[in-house]
């Protein structure tokens, strides 16, 4: 038999809360050759993880394989008994989860957990397993491979933990490894190291892989072939090169198109620009924890950050997790009262605490949060959600308010029929539109957007960005756009501020990106963003000094 994995006409059915059975995978077939890495790509709900899990004969609770076959190394996982499946898991098929932090037991040492598979299956003596684990740690370029196993999961970084979970998967010497979005939760600079480690160890040992991801650029670096999925069906299969450069299917083209957003033209920005700064932040200090004797909080998340935003212009704030970018938004909005510095908005100084700001000041400065799920009250209808700021700020009632709600829905391209629904009855993209419409209802001058596209699929996020630009043209708003994703910020902002460890590194315009005079950290950050080029990772060279200075890999 030439193929290692043969999936034929796979169907997976799920039972909804109402007791209806829906087919979530509708007849998918593909093969994986020994040593080949196949990527499953698609938006959330496309069934990519569900398919990957069937390789272990596993489905999530409420789902079951309703048809077809999944043959792994000559065994049909669908037909096997649960006991036989357990024997295969870890020895032939292994799994690397998205969140390594949630997959490790915090109460046991890393080594014990990594070699657990060999113990369960009785593969080798403990000493041999330990030696093999250390070899794997070395192959995955983990620091201190001889001793890292003695630590507990919380004592290593996120990127290290993700590589350790790969070691856990590889120790049983499987033939196929399933990677379920293993780098999605990591920072871009960390992601590079993890991807490199995965790639080299897979290539060296000739292990086949299934790589589940929503990020085409990441997939391009590691996969030999790509399967584009949507709604439980294969849209297109092809070699990585073919999918990236000669996509056949319209959906694949849409995915690729969403990847390269159109930047805001300077002329457009200049048209509405005003000479007076709308918002001026001067040496802002904020943080968490009890106050120290010098009046400063224990943990300073923001250390003397200054910025200014002009009317009709957009400022992007970019940085890795923990750099203080969300704290900056919260301090400006007054959710987290600042401990030092000054905020001048529209010519007036703003109070540190939102409770001491006037209603007009609050109205002019709105904030939109990342997760529309938690930002929209689940007990209220869309109409109530949008109607409240209208009544609160503008005193609109009855018919006038209804009309304005309809206008707002129209502005964010939602049909009027969603008015009576609750947020839980909308899709992720629709929820984020409602979330944004609520900020618009206040008729603000400035909107703080805190990672508003990060929880959305690429295509949906691109549509939301387009919407934001369109609204800016119509309403003359300004945005402060916070994101960890450079391409998103590039698409909408006139200026980009790079943050690192609570401080402003530098401020530049999108056209300055990639210039030699950029701050070293900006260069590192920009160069770490994956490109849609399969050779990008292999040809990427980063200054090891810089990496050591700025990365907590």
């Amino acid at each position: 038999m030439s193929q290692l994995v043969e999936i034929r006409d796979l169907k997976v059915a799920a039972k909804t809360d109402a007791g209806r059975t829906v087919e979530i995978i509708k007849g998918v077939s593909f093969d994986i050759a020994p040593g080949e890495i196949v990527a499953l790509i698609g938006e959330s709900g496309s069934g990519k993880t569900t398919i990957a899990l069937t390789l272990m004969g596993y489905t999530r609770t409420g789902c079951r394989i309703s048809g077809g076959s999944v043959t792994v190394d000559g065994q049909d996982m669908v037909q096997l008994s649960e006991k036989d499946r357990a024997d295969v898991r870890g020895t032939k098929v292994a799994y690397v989860p998205q969140s390594a932090a949630a997959a490790f037991n915090p109460a046991a040492t890393i080594m014990d957990q990594v070699i657990e598979v060999t113990r369960i299956h009785g593969l080798m003596p403990v000493d041999a397993a330990r030696t093999l684990a250390v070899e794997l740690f070395r192959a995955l370029s983990l620091p201190n491979p001889d001793t890292i196993g003695d630590r507990y999961p919380h004592q290593v970084s996120g990127g290290q933990l993700q590589r350790l979970s790969a070691a856990m998967a590889l120790i049983g010497q499987p033939k196929v490894v399933i990677f379920d979005e293993p780098t999605t939760a990591l920072d871009v600079t960390t992601q590079i190291e993890v991807l490199r480690a995965f790639k080299s160890v897979m290539r060296k040992n000739g292990i086949a892989g299934v790589y589940v991801s929503h990020d085409l650029a990441v997939v391009a670096q590691i996969a030999d072939r790509i399967l584009v999925l949507r709604g439980g069906e294969v849209q297109e299969v092809g070699s990585t090169d073919q999918i990236l450069h000669r996509p056949q299917h319209a959906y694949t083209r849409q995915l690729l198109g969403a990847f390269e957003p159109v930047p805001r033209s300077p002329a457009e920005a200049a048209r509405v620009a005003d000479l007076h700064p709308l918002l001026e932040v001067d040496h802002l200090v904020a943080g968490y924890g009890p106050l120290q004797s010098d009046g400063m909080p224990l943990v300073r998340a923001l250390n003397s950050v200054s910025l200014s935003v002009h009317r009709g212009r957009n400022l992007g704030i970019i940085g890795e997790s923990g750099c203080g970018k969300s704290t900056l938004a919260r301090a400006i909005a007054g959710i987290l009262p600042r401990k030092g510095g000054n905020i001048v908005f529209n010519g007036r100084e703003l109070a540190a605490d939102a409770r001491h700001r006037s209603r007009e000041e609050l109205r002019d400065l709105q904030i939109v949060f990342q997760y529309a799920d938690t930002a929209l009250n689940p007990a209220k209808s869309i109409e109530e959600l949008l109607g409240r700021p209208l009544a609160f700020y503008h005193g609109l009632k009855g018919k006038a308010r209804d009309q304005r709600v309809e206008q707002l829905l129209d502005m964010v391209h939602l049909p009027k029929s969603v008015r009576h629904r609750r947020a839980s009855e909308l899709s992720g993209g629709q929820k984020q539109r409602v979330n944004f419409a609520r900020a618009l209802a206040a008729e603000p001058k400035l909107i703080l957007c805190d990672e508003i596209t990060s929880a959305l699929d690429t295509v949906v996020a691109a549509a939301v960005i387009e919407l934001l630009k369109e609204l800016q043209r119509e309403l003359g708003l300004s945005y402060i756009f916070i994101s960890h994703d450079l391409s998103v910020v590039e698409a909408i902002c006139d200026e980009i501020m790079v943050m690192y460890a609570g401080e402003k590194v530098e401020q530049l315009t999108p056209s300055d990106i990639g210039r030699a005079e950029n701050h070293p950290y900006s260069r590192l950050l920009f160069s770490s963003t994956p490109k849609l080029d399969p050779g990008w990772l292999d040809s990427l060279e980063q200054d090891p000094e810089l990496v050591r200075a700025y990365c907590r890999r």
Binding site: A354, L376, G429, R438, A442
Partner: protein, 284 residues
Amino acid sequence: MTTPVSTTAPRRTPGYRFNLVGIIGFSVLLFWVVVALVAPWVIPYPVGEIVDYDYLAPISDKFWMGTDYLGRDILSRVLMGARYTVGISLASVTLACSIGVTLGMVAAVSGGWLDTVLSRFLDAMNSIPSKLFGLVVVAAVGSSLPVLVLTMAAVYVPGSFRFARALAVNINTMDFVTVARIRGEGTLYLILSEILPNILGPVLTDLGLRFVFTVLLLSGLSFLGLGVQPPYADWGAMVRENISGLSFGAPAVIFPCLAIATLTISVNLLIDNLPQKIRDRSDA
């Protein structure tokens, strides 16, 4: 730029429908409420009047549930007892939960010193044993309906407060509350409009449970002679009065016990089977 939006997608809105067990629980509860309301007009004999010389009499045509230790009609006393048991319990549990839940939400939303003061004060109240507290209060000011209602409400406020505060603290950290707060909304709006709808499901369940505890506490207090005073009696007092009949298998003890059991079990069944729509609110 357009997004595909399905406007005609069939959607399932869970209605306020009960399942069978819920209906049974609700019917029994409703039955006792109706009995409590109409009791004075349907009782066959006056409550306090001795109508039979045969005390602790068995079931007969004349006395459907037999007679008690003085020869009074049990049916009449059970029907009238519903007034006290259901009425006092309902009044005190409603009072306890409204105060407790409101304070709990205020503590969660305000935080800071107000939260600390309220929490510690109610914790201190919690440390007093409920029956002992009832004994002391009734001994001090005497037993009357308002005293009973207030005493039992006071007993259950701390638990209700703790419960609501724990739920509200979780909701309070959600972004939509932050959004409302920086919109400039006041505490009243925050607790009524943002917090309450999202904790209503568990709070109603808690109210049901506490109602059962209240019934049992009232029965306990009455059993000790601190509850409703003679010649009137709630179900707990009736059990105490007729306890001597237990060894004769007199129906005078069985029926009040059955009444307490049916009431408490039916409330439990009801709250375990609340309509989907109310329960859904809890998993916000």
